[in-house]
């Protein structure tokens, strides 16, 4: 059985009551899900985030909404994104955008050049930034910077908060005030529902207006499971606590092995390791990690936090690989 530490999934499955709810969703799969269920789900999301229900747009995974946002708004405005970021969205933006500017986050701090971004907002612009950032795990935005951006009504800002529950820092409270701000969220990560794909936007009016015809109905198992999860979400904070404790432990152990670790705020760790083909070598040991050289810099890897036992196996194998690494040959 492979140990999957490459997709930033939650290693803890959701509780039994949520699985049962998902299974109930299979009873009528010859029918579309009901609008009432969709509305109930929106109400629960609204209450969970303390915002009006009208601000919510549901999506089968937040990636689809990200793509749709890029499709709609890139026609007559330039896009600003950062690199690294959630790479599927960046690739889509490069393909679709009329004009795109990518800001590289330089290691080791991975800080955003706020001044330069503010200087770019002289024409209609869509900015997409993930906070915390994937794969660095760093918080890139603060309230004052976000407000400086959205005070310019020619600019739309979409903040991807896929890892909000781990970092516990959000800009949701600004959405009512700024119609040009939207927040992307997902229940794939903290809520352990990756296999059901549930994403949503908490969006200001400029976004909701354009996205009003986005499909409203999700698969029934997804809707039922998400409703149950939001009704009883204590398991989420319990699991997050365990994951954050493990993240700290894995970070410390990796540092002891002499590996460069970049601490972050999500459910993964960014490392830099000079051992060539580290990801391939770990696959040989039954462990998958994310090799970031395909889209970004050589030698950088992202490791999702797994179960303690899985993390132990990973630490043991990466330790062995490092010990056997002979720089004069390799």
């Amino acid at each position: 059985m492979m140990i999957n530490l490459n997709m930033n999934e939650n290693p803890y499955p959701p509780p039994e009551n949520i699985l049962k709810a998902a299974k109930r969703g299979f009873n009528n799969i010859n029918r579309y899900s009901k609008l009432e269920s969709s509305n109930s789900l929106k109400e629960l999301i609204a209450s969970y985030n303390n915002i009006p229900k009208e601000r919510i747009i549901l999506s089968p995974g937040s990636e689809f909404l990200l793509r749709e946002t890029i499709n709609i708004f890139s026609k007559d405005r330039k896009i600003i994104m950062i690199n690294p970021t959630f790479f599927p969205a960046l690739r889509h933006a490069v393909k679709s955008a009329k004009k795109i500017i990518k800001y590289k986050l330089p290691p080791p701090e991975f800080k955003l050049n706020q001044k330069m971004i503010l200087g770019e907002l002289y024409e209609p612009t869509l900015i997409i930034i993930d906070n915390p950032n994937n794969p660095t795990g760093k918080m890139l935005l603060d309230k004052s910077f976000v407000e400086k951006i959205v005070q310019n009504r020619n600019v739309l800002l979409l903040v991807d908060e896929a890892y909000y529950e781990f970092a516990k820092y959000t800009f949701i409270d600004l959405v009512e005030k700024y119609p040009n701000l939207a927040i992307a969220r997902t229940m794939d990560k903290a809520f352990s529902l990756a296999g059901l794909r549930l994403g949503y936007f908490i969006a200001g009016e400029y976004f909701t207006r354009e996205l009003s015809d986005f499909p409203k109905l999700l698969p029934t198992p997804t809707t039922f499971a998400a409703i149950e999860a939001l009704k009883n979400h204590e398991y989420v904070s319990r699991n997050i606590k365990k994951i954050i404790e493990e993240r700290k432990r894995v970070e410390d152990e990796l540092k002891k092995l002499g590996i460069e670790v970049f601490p972050g705020e999500a459910n993964f760790i960014l490392i830099r390791c000079k051992t060539p083909n580290l990801a391939e070598k770990l696959i040989g040991k039954g462990i998958m990690i994310k090799d970031l050289s395909d889209d970004w810099l050589n030698g950088f890897y992202r490791i999702s936090i797994g179960l303690p036992k899985e993390n132990d196996t990973f630490l043991l194998e990466i330790g062995n690989i490092k010990t056997n690494y002979d720089p004069s040959i390799y």
Partner: protein, 363 residues
């Protein structure tokens, strides 16, 4: 059966341990006097011991240039050419050409930038190479990360290739702590993900490097201002611009274009300063050379601090493919003039596609 040529530059890398910067010219004698030991044999022996495939037929250079390391191993091989006791750059070039005549499909060599330059001189991009690093300087982006990586490249050899830059520096100047490197040409290397030093990668957006260069060129040409002199630095990305304009460019040199016509060819500092004074509006177009992201100071030594001072930092256009740019932590400058370097060190926009820019720091 894969027919591979093998050439080892036995003295490459000897300068490093005794504090010399390379073994070109008379430096080799000095390295030996200082007690330097050969490095290359260990590198090639490591690589050969890690080769797993058994469908290889080797054409090897004689003695210390190849044959000596293959004897103990189980490869089918024959020796090509003759050498004297003291090997030279001429031996490398002559034997490489001979091997090419014998229809090798791949050339494996051990050496540094000087050796890469000799190989480039002899075979160009006619056949692919696997370059095993043993040199001191290593500015070129053709080298495998390590002997292990070189063996992996041979083991997983396919028909997918890309071009790597061959850079070399003036060793005499380098030993006096003056760095002046230039782009000498390109070698064809296997397209492998993590196995090349400071490797160049295809773009992750589904576009090939060639398509990406074409769209950069299209963007630049469409936005060229009238009555402005464009000084075009070396490299294939910049060459894309002159290809688009249908004018000839010296790939490794610095040329200039005015109102889409070629007006200066292979210019040196003097030539550049002359043309800057002649034309009122001037812009420089450069691309990072080598995998470390140098835009000035390596690979384009003609564009000196004096040239940069005259043109001004606001008139520099940097172009680079998206794939190459995403692999760079930063851009670098090392013009030899600290004031100019300081002026250039900031975040800049690089044109990475048609209407696509990447903001990156210059260090």
């Amino acid at each position: 059966m894969l027919k591979i040529g093998l050439i080892v530059n036995p003295i490459s890398g000897m300068g490093g341990s005794v504090g010399l910067k390379g073994t070109d010219g008379d430096a080799y004698k000095k390295a030996v006097e200082l007690g330097a030991k050969p490095v290359a044999p260990q590198r090639i022996e490591s690589t050969l011991s890690l080769i797993k495939r058994n469908d290889i037929y080797l054409l090897v250079a004689p003695g210390s240039m190849g044959e000596n390391y293959i004897k103990k191993l189980n490869f089918r091989y024959e020796v090509v050419g003759k050498i004297d006791e003291n090997t030279s750059a001429e031996d490398v070039k002559r034997i490489a050409r001979k091997m090419m005549e014998r229809a090798i499909e791949l050339l494996v060599f051990v050496g540094g930038d000087g050796t890469a330059r000799d190989i480039c001189n002899a075979i160009g991009t006619s056949i692919p190479v696997v370059a095993i690093p043993s040199g001191v300087k290593m500015f070129s982006s053709v080298f495998a990360l390590s002997p292990y990586a070189a063996a992996e490249m041979i083991n997983s050899y396919t028909d997918e290739f890309m071009e790597g830059e061959v850079l070399d520096i003036d060793e005499d100047a380098f030993r006096d702590n003056k760095l002046s490197a230039r782009l000498y040409g390109y070698l064809k290397v296997p397209k492998t993900k993590l196995l090349l030093q400071r490797g160049k990668e295809p773009s992750a957006t589904g576009k090939s490097e060639t398509e990406n260069k074409e769209e950069i060129a299209k963007y630049i040409v469409e936005n060229m201002e009238k009555d402005t002199l464009y000084i075009l630095g070396p490299g294939t990305t910049v060459k894309g611009i002159t290809d688009k304009l249908n004018v000839e460019k010296t790939l490794l040199g610095v040329d200039s274009v005015y109102n889409k016509e070629l007006v200066g060819e292979d210019l040196n500092e003097k030539g550049l300063i002359g043309s800057i004074k002649k034309y009122k509006k001037v812009k420089i177009v450069v691309t990072p050379i080598g995998g470390n992201g140098f835009i000035f100071g390596r690979g384009s030594k003609q564009i000196t601090p004096n040239v940069l001072k005259l043109v001004g930092e606001g008139n520099i256009i940097i172009v680079s493919t998206a794939g190459k740019t995403s692999k760079l932590e930063c851009l670098r400058v090392d013009t030899g003039d600290t004031e100019i370097d300081r002026m250039l060190r900031k975040s800049v926009k690089v044109i990475t596609g048609y209407n696509e820019e990447t903001v990156i720091e210059i260090k």
